[in-house]
Amino acid sequence: MIEAILIGLAAGVVAGLLGVGGGTLFVPALTIGLGLSQLDAEATSLLAIIPVALVGAVRQRAHGNVDVRTGAVLGVVAVAGALAGVAIANAVPQRALEVGFGLFLLFVAWRLVARALRLGGDSEAGAGAGAGERHH
């Protein structure tokens, strides 16, 4: 119980710091800390994410860090993508999905590091809601 609360707190800090939902930490908190099954933990984790993302988005909006229109478009499109994902998960071996997405995430991480090193500490200069395209 106490570990579930502590992991929840940590998940929130990560969510605010990096703009993710925190589900990757909520799920183990719910299975290991509170004894839920994997399926129930994944479902319950999504419930926990709602207030976290909402409060985080409101705070970030006060700092001028939310493009509301883009967020709404992404959210709606992602719902359609999630439905497709559930269908694919039932048709393609889980291992193939893990390897494919794992490699894609590694590629994205590498691009992110390369960009950060190229732009230095000033990577946010000139970027904003209206910055559609950037070429270097």
Binding site: A11, A15, V20, V52, H63, V66, D67, A116, A131
Partner: protein, 124 residues
């Protein structure tokens, strides 16, 4: 200009679809894809990308929770037990983010991405 707007829409659609796929396939929110792809493909700064990602996640998580709730898999008490401390955490996290450089956010994010990727490849 119209072509640029069209390409931007296409990219947003690709990011949303990828985030949704990831979410549906692995049962997590899509933020781990939304943030870096907004930065790399749409020229968003790190802070704007993370804030916008949170706004998108509110919608994704709300719909997914309703879907799971229909099957009776959502435990409200347990959800609040981890979710409420996490709300306190997210306030700390956003304050922390305001105090570090955009580059540090990118590098931290890349580290998390790398860790998740390795865990997936190792089959953990």
């Amino acid at each position: 200009m119209a072509r640029m707007a069209g390409r931007r829409t296409l990219r947003l659609a690709a990011i949303g679809t990828a985030a949704g796929l990831f979410s549906g396939l692995f049962g997590v929110g899509g933020g781990i894809l939304i943030v870096p792809l907004l930065v790399l493909w749409c020229g968003f700064g790190e802070r704007l990308a993370t804030g916008t990602s949170l706004a998108a996640i509110v919608i994704i998580a709300a719909v997914a929770t309703a879907a799971h709730g229909a099957y009776g898999n959502v435990h409200i008490r347990e959800g609040l037990l981890v979710g409420l401390p996490a709300v306190a955490g997210v306030l700390i996290g956003t304050e922390l983010q305001a105090r570090i450089s955009a580059r540090s956010i990118s590098l931290l994010f890349a580290a998390v991405l790398g860790a998740v990727a390795v865990a997936m490849l190792a089959g953990l």
